[in-house]
Symmetry: C2
Amino acid sequence: MNPLFSFNARTGEPLGEPLATSTPAQIDATVQAAHAAFDDWACSSGAQRAALLRHLADGLEAQREALVALADLETALGPVRLNGELDRTTFQLRRFADMAQRGEPFAVLDDPAVAGNPPVGHPAMQLHRMPLGPVAMFAASNFPFAFSVLGGDTASALAAGCPVVVKAHPGHPALSRLTFEIAERVLQSLGLPAGLIGLVQGAGVEVGVQLIRHPLIAAGAFTGSTRGGAALQAEANARPRPIPFYGELGSINPLIALPSALAARGAELASLLAGSITLGCGQFCTNPGLLVLVDGPETDTFVPQLAEALGALQPHPMLAAGMRKAFDTGVQAFIDAGAVPLLQGPGTGLAPGPQLLQVSAQRFIEAHALREEVFGPSSLIVRCDSLAQVQDVLAAVAGSLTVTIWGANEDTAEHRALVRAAMRIAGRVLFAGVPTGVAVTAAQHHGGPWPASTAPMTTSVGDAALQRFLRPVCLQDAPAWLLERAGRPC
Amino acid sequence: MNPLFSFNARTGEPLGEPLATSTPAQIDATVQAAHAAFDDWACSSGAQRAALLRHLADGLEAQREALVALADLETALGPVRLNGELDRTTFQLRRFADMAQRGEPFAVLDDPAVAGNPPVGHPAMQLHRMPLGPVAMFAASNFPFAFSVLGGDTASALAAGCPVVVKAHPGHPALSRLTFEIAERVLQSLGLPAGLIGLVQGAGVEVGVQLIRHPLIAAGAFTGSTRGGAALQAEANARPRPIPFYGELGSINPLIALPSALAARGAELASLLAGSITLGCGQFCTNPGLLVLVDGPETDTFVPQLAEALGALQPHPMLAAGMRKAFDTGVQAFIDAGAVPLLQGPGTGLAPGPQLLQVSAQRFIEAHALREEVFGPSSLIVRCDSLAQVQDVLAAVAGSLTVTIWGANEDTAEHRALVRAAMRIAGRVLFAGVPTGVAVTAAQHHGGPWPASTAPMTTSVGDAALQRFLRPVCLQDAPAWLLERAGRPC
């Protein structure tokens, strides 16, 4: 088993002694405590859930300075981004608090009895939603607040009435521990059981595998690599009793810049795009990794503009030394598969330089290797000879969190076909701006066909994330006392 | 590859020559035709979808006599049940037609732009639902109409905008063909592509496996055994690009008869229960296979009443000779695992006699083998010494389509705990009547934790079945022309 270290992300040096890895007995005890807390928490009121979530948000804000400093040390993401991410995290906690307070987890679909024989006649039925049980939450490396210990998965699961056992990401173990200690104090101050929010950690895969295999775990939520997510999903399915597994995996986020858009404001778009490709050192699941361009003079003008805008930017160091290595390997694999480098920023130390590559649509469609996600500040231009070929490129991508289309401003048959092709493979289709930056709203859908998500009908960001942890249960001919309790036998 | 025969279910004799098994080329051509029909059908209006579904219902009714006669020959389910099932099937088709006509597949969640910086500010977003694409539909043996060629899965997928390729069940191949020919004529009469509804068939597993592996298949829907469903789900997950798989598998449907209910009307309940256990020769996914009773004088009186009521009933022959054999094997496995037979109806030919067995709660919780579904007219009594032990029995069951509780008429802490335990493992909890008979309504939930379903958040019966085939897609900053088209680029 690998030892668990906290690393300085800018130097790659370990910060102090190795941290404790959760033992099998500790993991079991943490899940048992979550299970023990489940029955009461499933019966908690919306106000009780809201109070917990709001106190967690307050607790994070009260320690903002220490949290951001430690996060910056372990991730190198910088204080501006990290303060913004902390804002988003507390916003999420309070938004799910509001939903719980409004009673959304307790919504009932009432279906009164209809007299007569079937199929028309039927008994009185009511549809409720039951929290699933303890959720195993696998934190992401690239959002040390918003997709980590007290991130959106934890907030939505708690709002739904489920305890959570967090598998901390080994990329920021000290921050995970500090965040967890805030949660522990909040639970204690509210007189809630410590088992409601658990934490396990370790550098290797063993801890996560033991967690998802635990018979008392009722669901999994994961944000990370396709390989890691697929492995955990396979574990979830291989259990004697498989459980729902919500994995948000890799995505290459095609961005289609049509000639009309480039003609109108190519230079401005080049600058916007260069910023999106390098934002957070390209370490976003919505990073635009694929630029789909149509041959013509506008594209010929745009590509060097983009290369120049990109070349002027030097991203900050990556989250971890291993990621830098994986980034270089990924870029080289593209070159080996036939992509031509247009810009090869040299980078410095753990900070890679921006990379821009180009390949023909035909080659892209042939070569599976070119559809892999390269996590970091890199993008691959795919040159198409027609809008029809753009559709073929999208079909080859097959699954993505987002597709962005610039320039489909007129209602033409070609634009409609292009939008249909985009909607067929993506969870979100943008017509302006860049895909990085995922709003926490009612209509957000952060998911998509494989490999974007293991559960493309669900979202890990936005209000509907709550529904992942509630299972419909129909009550038929419920007795009067249960109806008076609105279907909650608590 | 096994040859495909139509069998007389009452005699086990083949009806004529072997039927053609779909070749790999035919399967591919059927899926290709479905794929070719997808883009247009996804763009069809609610009125167009409703017209197709209503004409399919009309087409079934126009041939009711021939369909029921052929179904009876191949399944032995009898004309009363089969006419009722045909009514349910046309009811489903028309109900999904109404939903399509009302525009339910095209519902939009509008999320206007909010000014300001994130996390509060966000662009204009709209949530739509996209049909998934061609659906592979695996028909069930035990519902030759309602879960077969034009059953609920097909109706809901078509209403959602998805073409369907049906894998016919080999238990009623001639009926499947006759039903399919009705569909073919309806499609032709409406000028719709034949590819919208395809049929493939074969006696072995090869045809189904090739179908679910086909790269142009976008989802699977299955009703049948745990083994068969788990194998197909594994295939769906092993694809280079996994797809959603909705499998409704085995269920043992615990029925808890509390002493108060038995004291009030034990004889009447014994008769009701005996009818439910033997209905359709016990070949229902909601058949009450587990009777959970609490030790005491009421139970001591009830058990012989039930054995007597059951012993007076002789079920009709099973759907197929292989099922009869599996039934006998399943009952024997229970005896081998420690269950004591209370009634061993001898049966005649392919018609099994009713079986009633009994075991202690402790033994039931220890022995996994006693939690297997025995498909047929059999039920296992589990004797508990307390209501707390009833909860332990439910926890051991872990997943079921239904749980029925008789006698929880007062609001007590014990009853509330029991209902919570039931809601934790079931998709539907009944407080009166028997679980057989699944109403097609808005609040129905026909699904549950494994092994009841591979997708416990979804239902295969009722209005929400439609949602299985629609994937959320968020449109961000959609252009005016697309908003004018209500987000449908058609």
